[in-house]
C-alpha cells in the first residue's frame, strides 16, 4: 500500500464484510502533537479476544480463498515503522475499532493520500452502510479545521435514485473533494 488512505479503504472493507450498519472513518492530522491518527470504527459482528489477536498475524485469515490475511498486519507494520502504534479493540456482537497512529514528521510515514477517493469508493461500493467520514487538522499554532460527512443525510435526500447516476456522482465527488481540500493542511505539501 502506498497511502494511508488505501489502508483505510482496506480496513473499512473488513467492516463492511462484518455486516456493519454504521462505519466511521476518522483521520486527524495533528501538527501540534506531531501525530497522524487514522481510525475505523464499526458496529459489525466483532471478534472475540483470541480472533482479535490472531488477525494481527499475517498467516491468519477468516477467508477461505487463501491462507494469508495481510490487511491488518500491513497497517500495523506501517504505523510501527513510523514511530507510531496500532490498536485493535473488538467485542462480539458490538463491533470493532482499529486505530493506527503515526509520527507525522517521521520520514517513513507514508503519505495520507487521496482521502476523497477512498471515501467516494466506500460510499459507492457499500450504499447499504451509513458512513461517517471525519477529517480533522490541527496546525502548529493549534488552529483546527475539520470536515464531517454523513451518508445517511445524502441517502434520505436521494431516496430511490442511485449514487451512480452521473449528476449525483458529480455532486457527491465535489462535496467530498471540496470539503477535504478546505480542511487540509496548508503548511505541509505531501
Amino acid at each position: 500500500m502506498r497511502e494511508i488512505a488505501l489502508h483505510l479503504l482496506d480496513i473499512a472493507e473488513n467492516s463492511a464484510a462484518a455486516a456493519s450498519k454504521n462505519v466511521s472513518i476518522q483521520v486527524h492530522e495533528d501538527l501540534l502533537r506531531d501525530r497522524l491518527t487514522a481510525c475505523v470504527i464499526d458496529n459489525g459482528r466483532g471478534m472475540d479476544a483470541e480472533t482479535a489477536r490472531q488477525v494481527q498475524d499475517p498467516f491468519y485469515t477468516t477467508r477461505t480463498t487463501r491462507k494469508v490475511g495481510l490487511g491488518i498486519p500491513l497497517l500495523k507494520l506501517a504505523a510501527e515503522q513510523a514511530d507510531g502504534s496500532f490498536s485493535l479493540q473488538s467485542e462480539p456482537g458490538k463491533g470493532t475499532r482499529v486505530e493506527a497512529e503515526f509520527r507525522h514528521s517521521n520520514i517513513d510515514r507514508m503519505p495520507l493520500g487521496d482521502l476523497s477517493s477512498t471515501f467516494l469508493t466506500m460510499l459507492i461500493a457499500h450504499p447499504e452502510i451509513d458512513w461517517t467520514f471525519m477529517y480533522q487538522v490541527t496546525e502548529k499554532d493549534s488552529q483546527s479545521r475539520d470536515f464531517v460527512f454523513e451518508s445517511a443525510e445524502l441517502k434520505s435526500e436521494l431516496q430511490d435514485v442511485s449514487l451512480t447516476e452521473p449528476e449525483v456522482l458529480t455532486f457527491v465527488r465535489g462535496l467530498l473533494e471540496e470539503g477535504i481540500e478546505a480542511a487540509a493542511l496548508q503548511t505541509v505539501a505531501e
Binding site: 477467508r63 487463501r66 469508493t121 451512480t164 455532486f171 471540496e178
Partner: protein, 122 residues
C-alpha cells in the same frame, strides 16, 4: 464547474437524474463489480473504480450499478473487474488499470462488445 455544496442543490439534481433515467429505457440491469480485497486495493482497485466513475460522469451513462466484491482468489490478476449485462453471463476481466477500465466501460458496458484481451477464463 461551479461549486455545488448545498443539499437544496441535491434535490434538483435528484429530480433531473430521475427524469433522465425514465427517458432512457436501459435494456436490463447493468452491473460493474470491482474486486476490493487487500490484493485488489494494493494492485490499484481504487484507481479502477475511479476510472469507472469518471467515465459514468463524463459520458453521462445512466442506470449502471457499481459495486464491489472481496478477494476471489486470483490475486495475481488484480485489479479484477466484472461486468454483467442483463441476463448475460458474468464477464471477468483481469489487470484492469484505469485505461483498461475506461475501455471496458466504452466497449462492453455501452456498446455490448467485451474487451477480449483482458478477459480471464475461469
Amino acid at each position: 464547474m461551479p461549486a455545488i455544496k448545498s443539499f437544496d442543490e441535491l434535490k434538483r439534481i435528484r429530480e433531473e437524474a430521475l427524469q433522465k433515467k425514465q427517458m432512457k429505457a436501459t435494456p436490463g440491469n447493468v452491473q460493474v463489480i470491482v474486486a476490493m480485497g487487500t490484493c485488489g486495493i494494493a494492485a490499484g482497485a481504487r484507481d479502477t473504480m475511479k476510472s469507472v466513475l469518471n467515465y459514468i460522469e463524463n459520458e453521462k451513462v445512466s442506470g449502471v450499478t457499481v459495486t464491489q466484491t472481496g478477494c476471489i482468489g486470483l490475486c495475481e490478476q488484480e485489479p479484477i473487474m466484472q461486468v454483467v449485462l442483463g441476463d448475460q453471463p458474468k464477464v471477468v476481466y483481469g489487470k484492469v488499470n484505469a485505461q483498461v477500465a475506461e475501455k471496458i466501460m466504452k466497449q462492453h458496458v455501452q456498446h455490448g462488445q467485451p474487451v477480449k484481451e483482458n478477459i480471464i477464463q475461469i
